[in-house]
Amino acid sequence: MFVIGERINGMFSDVKKGIENHDKSIVQEVAHRQIKCGADALDINVGTARGKAMDNMLWLIESVQEVTDLPLCIDTTKFDVMGEALKACKQPAIINSSKSTEEELDRYVPLAVENNAQLIALTIDKSGVPSNAENRVAMGATIVTKAMEYGLEIPDLYIDPVILPVNVAPKQPVAVMETLRQLAVLSDPPPKFILGLSNVSQSCKLRSLINSTYLVMAISAGLDGAIMDPTDRQLMEAGITAELLMEKQIYCDDYISAYLGNR
């Protein structure tokens, strides 16, 4: 399970405060905590913090890179910020994200290739998030084709079939799982699949339970990783156990610590 820690995001009040006061210790603390709990990469998003997005992004990257060598997942919708951010990353980074319109893919896929970065591409086009699996699969095919066209290695490509909150879009969780199953046979080797997991429980009451249950369901449908909160222990342990049951790990009595200690 490839876990991208979601907590370094200006939407969270602690990180927002850190960005606005240029207090590295807050951001670095959040980074540390996620790494300790099993993050494989860290999402970096300036959110709604005051100040210029570009400056905030570069400051965040600098602060986080002082304490870790893990890959960073640059989360911004601004193309110019993405370009500068990738240059600032010491390790090969992850672009989060491109939509599956031709215009966006024609810019982001080459950007990934140039910067030796991985790319997360969302199954969203001009008309938004599809309501069914069929349109998601069609977009997935466009994404893979574009990746091949520009020479992005398919294992460096993540497709995010976009999960919506279950309280407002109850048919979506099943549609996303169906998409995962169908996209897996699209190419050999297949692209990887990732989800912005926490979105499934947006504005719900039992968020942790919904997140961990859906993570398990999605892993059983072929999900490879998630942008999620690794400090949620129940969530992490559910994901690790799901992979064990999918025979992605060999059992031993201490399989949780075996996983966390030896990634």
Binding site: Q249, I250, Y251, C252, D253, D254, Y255, S257, A258, G261, N262
Partner: protein, 402 residues
Amino acid sequence: MKQSQKSGSLSGSGSEKIVLGHEKLDVYRLARGYVAWAFEKSGKAQRTIPIPISRPIYREQTWFTEYLLKYSVNFFSGREDMAIPDVKEKFSGCMNTVTIGATSENGGTRGKTISIGGENGLPLANWESDVPNPPAFALEITNGGIDGWLPEEARHVEDVADDIGKWAAKCEEWGADAVCLKLDAAHPDDGARSGEECAGDVKKVLESCGLPLIIWGVDVAETDDSVLPKCSQAAAGENCLIGSAKEKDYRTLAASCLADGHKIVAESPSDINLAKQVNILLQDVGYPLENIVIHPTTGALGFGMIYIYSVMERARNAALNGDKLLQQPVAVYIGEQAGRVKEAKAGEDEYPQWGPREVRAPLWEAATAIGLIEAGAGLCVMRNPDAMKQAREAAERLTVTQ
């Protein structure tokens, strides 16, 4: 689908027709073989061509059908410039390399060292992956006498069995990569030789031969916990391999090996889950994963080899896919186990049709070793020097010459 009589000369040979959808050609391959054949479907003079294949092929592999078609078409049109496609399997993980023995440069007194492991692919698959170290062979010596040994195993060592030093020197002469001292005499039912005395045996072996040393306990927790630390100390700095740590008994040995600079054998009875668990337990007490050698216990051919084989197979696959807790090279303890099988033990008077025991017994030991080497064993502890030689030669033949 079997070829029909009228269409060619391969009927009855066990070959299978491969459907290529080509109007002029029929292609067959020998079952699971390295060679395929193509025929022109029509025309009076039927031409048959052999098609070279670099590795065993399976019909479901699409590269293969494409390759066959292109090759055949090129051949019949007078061109032979088809390159065999690159279909090498690549993995993300790699086996650890474990080196046993220390020369004077590294603070020991050994004349040489051996390294095992280090592969980044399937066992012996050097056509598609790195196999930096060929399988290593150790010969077993014991301080407990050879009463339990088969006549064929004992025959070689009768003259030296009561002098552990001479015996060790003999192993070097026979071309072993390492010598494995089994402390049988320490067993409570077999004399309960003390730790100090066993440490004396260790020193004798170290003085009389230059091979890297493996020290193996008796599988009784209290005995191993009192004897092995003394032996470990006596060999401090020699970078030995000492066995074995088990789920219920690993702390003492781990501490000794850490203190005296030895590699450790982690043992689990034919159980991959336990193999992983013992490694994590050793890691938890601070013993480095890269100094561990896994012993999945050993079953001889005819005596449960398949269980060990499949444990090793699964472990290698998991290791190559990145499981750091299974990336340790594997040692198997063959001589003792092969000697327990009826086919190696029974005399000619009992089974005349099985042929002479002096041929059969070493063959059985060698066959067991080869089977387990194919499953991924990096180190084989054997008894019969003839069997060791046969197994080593067979392993060399199984590796593709580049």
